[in-house]
């Protein structure tokens, strides 16, 4: 089984290739939001370096949201184009599940956070459970959502378990966490703390094996937020 992973949901642009339990390649930058110019050349570079025949790929795993609306669409259109041209399905990996997968096997709760602006973060709460064999499965404790930082902290306090934070929402919320969080916590180190297409490809392999692939036509990002016009319509415009 060979799966391409793509994540362009935030500042990170990342592509990876996982095959039969091994990560064969991964390119990641965390620099500027120039994904439109960098993502596909990155994939091309990986293809050349790995001497990859695209026809041997089984599916494309995409960080399917939440994230930057435009960033998500660049990744999605890239995945959909590959799916259409190669006649392969897409595996949608929710961005925050992909982030949580970075901390595979860790004890306690995993809380990835992405900066969602407007005093909110995109977040979910996860834990790893033994899969009865030689690994772990990712268990969703709280589904990903856009939520006020204070509300998230209250939720975690209510759960009363130790938690590991990661994601680009952490620096934005750190003061609040330090002030208001009452449970033990830790912050993930730099090599695990941001989106990685390696995680999307790896988790994508598992979701693909579970039969969670969809047609490339059907895929669209999960934004977790309506557009501003839709949010404001009932108040500002009479039909």
């Amino acid at each position: 089984m060979k799966i391409i992973g793509i994540d362009s949901s935030g500042l990170v642009a990342s592509v990876a290739l996982a095959a039969d339990g091994v990560l064969l390649g991964e390119f990641t930058t965390n620099n500027k939001k120039t994904h439109s110019q960098t993502l596909l050349p990155m994939l091309d570079r990986m293809r050349q370096d790995l001497d990859l025949d695209l026809k041997t790929v089984d599916a494309i795993a995409i960080a399917s949201g939440p994230g930057s609306f435009t960033g998500l669409r660049i990744g999605s259109a890239t995945a959909k184009g590959l799916g259409l041209a190669l006649d392969r399905p897409i595996v949608e990996v929710p961005t925050l599940e992909g982030l949580a997968w970075n901390l595979w096997g860790a004890d306690g709760l995993i809380c990835p956070m992405m900066d969602a602006r407007r005093e909110q973060v995109y977040t979910g709460i996860y834990e790893f459970c033994p899969d009865g064999g030689e690994g772990f499965t990712l268990h969703v404790v709280a589904q990903q959502e856009a939520i006020a930082v204070t509300d998230l902290i209250a939720k975690l306090n209510g759960m009363g378990r130790k938690v590991i934070f990661l994601g680009d929402g952490v620096p934005v919320c750190l003061d609040r966490i330090r002030e208001e969080l009452k449970v033990p916590y830790a912050l993930a180190p730099e090599h695990l703390s941001r989106q990685r297409a390696g995680s999307i490809a790896s988790l994508g392999c598992r979701y693909f094996a579970m039969g969670r692939a969809i047609s490339s036509d059907a895929h669209a990002p999960e934004y977790l937020r309506k557009s501003q016009a839709e949010r404001e319509r009932p108040h500002s415009y009479e039909v």
Binding site: F69, T70, R73, K80, G81, G83, A229, E230, V239
Partner: protein
């Protein structure tokens, strides 16, 4: 060395610059084998205009189906294509990015050559579809929701701007006036229809001129004059005739577009005048240009309404000639929302 460009090459054209998701297969730069357009207009009507984020979201939902349908209707498989052409500007950046990322990805996965096409150059090239004998040089009036230009087409892919609008685009003026008289969005077709019941000479609205630039357009004064007129009626407690306002406003726009196009065409010795863009499907403009061109002994050409609206066929046609001129785009092609006519960014020989 690139392979020589085939005369009967098959090009897939992809367009997503505003609120239409469109794809088309064109053979030999002239023959349209399919032309699939998914219009989002009903969605945006709820908001009185195009909402960029909603447009972008719809594009990503529909783009694969639209491309697949274009290939199916043409009876062409992806592997048979000689080139993929995609609109990369001007337009709404989020909307453009969907088409650009999709086109690049398909080109990457198949090895088919890619080129980025200028949206307005596409509109102009729509004239080639139904006029097989049309060849440069000719002059084209481009009038749409975002653009009002007089463009000299010196050769395939070689454009020179003769005149532009100093403020509102013609189509923008239509939308704003339509909203003011309660016709709603989209303004162009609704005013065109309402005007048929009205008297174009009922109200004397001003014909905008630009000091020192006789061919340039200005529509903001006209728009203000309409709003002032409506306000005046309201102050006096009088009703206004919607058909008369629509007809008189439309007459003023059409007069200006026709006069400026004809005077530039005559001064520059142009033998063929074309129109393009959404406003080019306005029936009064077509009639006025037709009459004026006949009087001046100038050939007048225009596309069918389906090729005036945003569509993939015009991108396939323009892309065909860009390919023929040796242009190619790399996988780093980006959307350029402010791309100027004749400008290339990330597309080179």
């Amino acid at each position: 060395m690139e392979q020589a460009w085939k005369e009967d090459a098959l090009v897939l054209g992809i367009e997503s610059s505003c609120d239409e998701t469109a794809a088309s297969v064109v053979r030999g730069g002239r023959e349209v084998l399919s032309n699939v357009i998914y219009s989002q207009i009903d969605l945006h009507t709820l908001y009185g205009g195009v909402v960029p984020e909603i447009a972008s979201r719809k594009h990503i939902e529909k783009i694969n189906q639209v491309i697949r349908k274009a290939l199916d209707e043409a009876g062409i498989s992806l592997r048979e294509l000689d080139g993929i052409a995609v609109t990369y500007g001007p337009g709404l950046v989020g909307a453009l990015l969907v088409g650009v990322a999709e086109a690049k990805s398909i080109a990457f996965a198949t090895g088919i050559p890619l080129v980025g096409v200028h949206h307005i150059e596409g509109h102009i090239s729509a004239n080639y579809i139904e006029h097989p004998d049309l060849e440069p040089p000719f002059m084209c009036l481009v009038a749409s929701g975002g653009h009002s230009h007089l463009v000299m087409v010196r050769d395939y892919g070689e454009y020179e701007i003769i005149a532009r609008t100093r403020d509102d685009a013609a189509g923008e003026a239509f939308d704003k006036v339509a909203r003011a008289i309660g016709l709603g969005y989209p303004g162009g077709p609704k005013i065109d229809k309402a005007a048929r019941e009205g008297d174009p000479n009922a109200i004397d609205f001003p014909r905008g001129k630009v000091e020192g630039s006789p061919y340039d357009f200005s529509f903001s004064g006209l728009k203000s004059a309409v709003l002032n007129y409506l306000n005046g009626c309201r102050m006096k407690g009088e009703d206004f005739s919607r058909p008369d306002v629509a007809a008189s406003f439309q007459r003023a726009v059409v007069d200006v577009l026709t006069e400026h196009s004809l005077s530039a065409a005559k001064d520059l010795g142009v033998k063929t005048l074309a129109i393009a863009g959404g406003v080019a499907s306005n029936s009064a403009l077509r009639a006025s240009m037709q009459t004026a061109c006949e009087e001046a002994g100038i050939r007048f050409v225009y596309p069918s309404p389906v090729y005036c609206t945003d569509n993939g066929a015009m991108i396939g046609v323009a892309g065909y000639y860009d390919f023929r001129n040796g242009y190619r785009a790399g996988y780093d092609l980006n959307a350029v929302p402010g791309l100027r006519i004749g400008e290339k960014q990330g597309v080179s020989r």
